[in-house]
């Protein structure tokens, strides 16, 4: 036993604050029973603990976990953690973690591994889900099971950015204490890049990705999925910025590594194939896209089965391409297969079945099989309204599609009613300046134009224009075409100065976007000259 004088002397001799804290803590621990000390070390590993967590961390003390939990709760440096149990105060926890890392790193990693396994199987709450990653990253560098990557993948898919941010925060805690190996540092940077992509900060995202790649390159990555996913994420960042050439480079690299290191029939290879195919499709390189989509489909059929929902996604991708190419019959047969899978595997009323119904309906509409298209659109709308809600943005998609069909059939009143409902949903659910709201405004304007309700069409197109300007989406042909339409509407309403302004804006854009001899430029110039001449006559 240390005497009071000895204790005070040791406190006095401490050179740093951390040393002083450790002396005090160590003395306190020297007065505790062995089992409690053992549990205290374990309790410092997670950010929070309860009796179940303690039992998982110290299986040899599992039977006493409840009793030790009660004792831990009485310690001065243990405090309540909202909704999860208790935690060791940050100051003391850091002292314990630093000591354990220095004294017995293997024990630290062993406890972290048990914590990761516990939270992996639990992950009931967001905290538990994030806590899993916090522990997993310390052992994943050696094990490379891919579990860490899968969590990141899920969070991305389900848009759970808060969890991504929280995981990054936990990784930073390890990094500050110098507990991350090269793999951990690389993965932490990768995740930080993903968070930046979601908020549209592409330059920052790519800087994180590039640093992550450097770390991955310094080690022997046993699980190549980490690098292929990183390369696809860089490709995605480039693609979202419209830099297709760079995007192709990264997707191709990812594909090469997937094929060489994981195998031509690995599921990861199908992800790389799909990314690249989607890009080729956007660029109109349909033949190349087709061959890649077909390979991805084959892999999924073989690896997951012909009736797996992911196989249905591949079928949908391929059908979309066939539709682009006007190969409607092939597209129809694939859409029907995808629909059958969705209905069988997920249920007739599942929102994924509504996607398939919708795709098929678009195809029938293009083929002028209006009655069949209408019936499918109505089925999709019913599923979405019932499963997702009457005001869900996906229901607005169905309303819009159906409105387009009614417009084609000249059923203007019904089309208008649906367009207005879709517009209201989008304004409310997505915002007044959202691109989908802009699409609804444009659709409704087009409908009014067909009915010669020109001044109503003008007011909608002006709102549409304001959104496009705000989003800086004006340097493209489709925007220029709509402004030209707006000019024509103004002219019809005899609002000539506004018409001239719209024509001039269109001409300015065409001069930047088209060849000077393009027929549209010649027509537009003639229209503008005629209009100006007429205006002079009117003035006289």
């Amino acid at each position: 036993m240390v005497s009071i004088e000895e204790l005070l002397k040791r406190v006095q001799q401490a050179e740093t604050e951390t040393e002083r804290q450790w002396i005090l803590l160590e003395l306190q621990m020297s007065q505790m029973p062995h089992d409690l000390v053992s549990m205290l070390w374990a309790a410092a590993i997670p950010h929070f603990f309860d009796a179940n967590i303690l039992a998982a961390l110290r299986p040899e003390l599992a039977e006493q976990a409840d009793k030790l939990y009660e004792k831990l709760k009485t310690l001065t440096f243990v405090e309540e953690f909202p909704k999860q149990g208790y935690n060791i105060h940050e100051l003391t926890r850091n002292v314990l973690l630093n000591q354990l890392w220095q004294q017995d790193k293997d024990e630290f990693l062993r406890l972290s591994e048990r914590a990761a396994d516990y939270f992996f199987s639990e992950k009931m709450s967001s905290e538990e889900d994030v806590e899993f990653c916090y522990h997993e990253i310390l052992n994943e560098g050696d094990a490379q099971t891919g579990r860490l990557l899968d969590r990141g993948f899920d969070w991305w898919t389900y848009n759970q950015i808060e969890r991504l941010q929280a995981a990054v925060q936990g990784f930073r805690e390890h990094e500050t204490a110098d507990r991350l190996d090269a793999f951990g540092k690389g993965f932490s940077l990768h995740l930080q890049g993903i968070v930046k992509i979601r908020s549209g900060h592409y330059a920052e995202a790519e800087s994180f990705f590039s640093r992550a790649e450097t770390f991955y390159n310094t080690i022997n990555l046993k699980n190549p999925r980490y690098i292929t996913t990183l390369l696809r994420d860089i490709g995605r960042s480039k693609q979202e910025q419209g830099d297709y050439d760079s995007s192709v480079y990264f997707y191709e690299n990812a594909l090469l590594i997937s094929e060489e290191q994981l195998g031509e029939n690995h599921l990861d290879t199908s992800f790389s194939l799909n990314s690249l195919a989607g890009l080729y499709q956007n660029k109109g390189r349909y033949d190349e896209a087709e061959s890649l989509y077909l390979r991805a489909l084959k892999i999924r059929e073989e690896q997951l089965g012909e009736n797996h929902p992911d196989t249905a996604t591949s079928l949908n991708n391929l059908s979309g391409l066939y539709q682009n190419k006007g190969r409607y019959d092939e597209a129809e047969s694939l859409y029907l297969r995808a629909l059958k899978i969705s209905e069988e595997q997920l249920g007739k009323n599942h929102p994924d079945s509504a996607i398939s119904l919708n795709n098929l309906a678009v195809l029938y509409q293009n083929k002028r099989r209006y009655d069949e298209a209408e019936s499918l659109y109505l089925r999709a709308l019913k599923i979405r309204e019932e499963q997702l809600g009457k005001n869900h943005p996906d229901s607005a998609i169905s309303l819009n599609n159906l409105a387009g069909l009614y417009e084609n059939k000249g059923r203007y009143d019904e089309a208008e009613f649906l367009c207005l409902r879709a517009l209201k949903i989008r304004e409310e659910q997505l915002g007044e300046n959202h691109p989908d709201t802009a699409t609804s405004l444009n659709n409704l304007a087009e409908l009014y134009k067909s009915q010669k309700r020109n001044s109503e069409a003008i007011s909608l197109l002006e709102r549409w224009k304001a959104i496009k300007r705000k989003r800086q989406e004006t340097q493209n042909k489709s925007y220029a075409d709509r402004i030209w339409t707006l000019g024509k509407l103004y002219e019809k309403c005899q609002q000539f100065p506004q018409a001239v302004a719209a024509y001039e804006e269109t001409l300015f854009l065409f001069n930047h976007l088209l060849d000077p001899k393009h027929p549209q430029i010649l027509v537009l110039k003639a229209e503008l000259a005629r209009l100006k001449k007429n205006m002079k006559k009117v003035k006289k």
Partner: protein
């Protein structure tokens, strides 16, 4: 610009807090910064104990999964869901389908789904968050009694929550929510010189407590330490350099030996 106050012990903070809580201070934002172990959480529990019964006290700890949704949920549930009709109506417009609203409390997860959806882009998420927090502020503005909303462990809040607190919450407290007092405490805190609300906040930095007399008085009031003689307490304060967490730990160790 806000003035920093360095204090020997924690009585001044309590005094100003009580003035704020009762609407008798020209600031309604208090920021408390202090290293780990400086006694922030203890100070906040003293605030809570001494807060008058007529004032509703809402604590929020950022060390959970610290989302904006969790903050909104905590405040709504603590003050009573029935007091937030505009917020609930708005929430229902974003939450459809099979979500159950029958529970007494509105879960953070429900609000999170309303904000983020399953496949919404950042612009739509921002729109929904704005709509929801505007509705939340509309309801909060209608309260007739004083409310204190405390955010502890601020440094653990994620980036989104910190940005929202600094750009939206504190600005709204200053401009609109005249009955609301908010305290933000942590190892790091929002910038007290913020252009929009900095002039209406009172920041404190918690430093070691070197006032030996104050420590001796503190010990005298507690049965476990009251037998310790004054010179021993003074020695401990000096050795632990007034660091509250270390002083308490040393006091506890010595007191055990003393009684043994």
């Amino acid at each position: 610009m806000a003035k920093l106050r360095k204090l020997a012990n924690r009585t001044k903070e309590l005094e100003i807090f009580l003035q704020m809580a009762q609407g008798k201070h020209d600031c309604r934002i208090m920021l408390i910064e202090g290293e780990s172990g400086m006694g922030k959480t203890s100070l906040l529990s003293r605030f809570r104990q001494q807060c008058p019964d007529t004032v509703k006290y809402v604590p929020f700890d950022c060390k959970g999964l610290d989302s904006i949704a969790a903050f909104l949920s905590e405040v709504v549930n603590d003050l009573g869901r029935a007091q937030f009709p505009i917020f609930e109506k708005k929430l229902r417009t974003f939450i459809q389908g099979s979500v159950d609203f029958s529970e007494n409390d509105i879960a953070a997860q429900t609000i999170s789904i309303a904000i983020n959806g399953t496949s919404l882009d950042p612009q739509a998420q921002e729109h929904r968050l704005r709509q929801l927090h505007d509705a939340f502020f509309d309801d909060l503005e209608k309260f007739e009694h004083q409310i204190v909303i405390v955010l502890d462990t601020y440094q653990m809040a994620n980036e989104s929550l910190q940005n929202w607190i600094e750009s939206t919450w504190l600005r709204t407290v200053k401009r609109r929510l005249k009955k609301v007092v908010t305290v933000v405490a942590g190892k790091s805190i929002p910038d007290p010189n913020h252009l929009v609300w900095g002039d209406k906040c009172t920041p404190f930095i918690l430093t070691p407590i070197l006032d030996e007399k104050a420590w001796y008085e503190f010990c005298s009031d507690l049965p476990e330490y009251c037998k310790l003689p004054e010179p021993t307490v003074k020695t401990i304060v000096l050795l632990a350099e007034g660091h509250p967490s270390n002083v308490i730990q040393t006091l506890s160790l010595i007191a055990k030996k003393w009684s043994a």
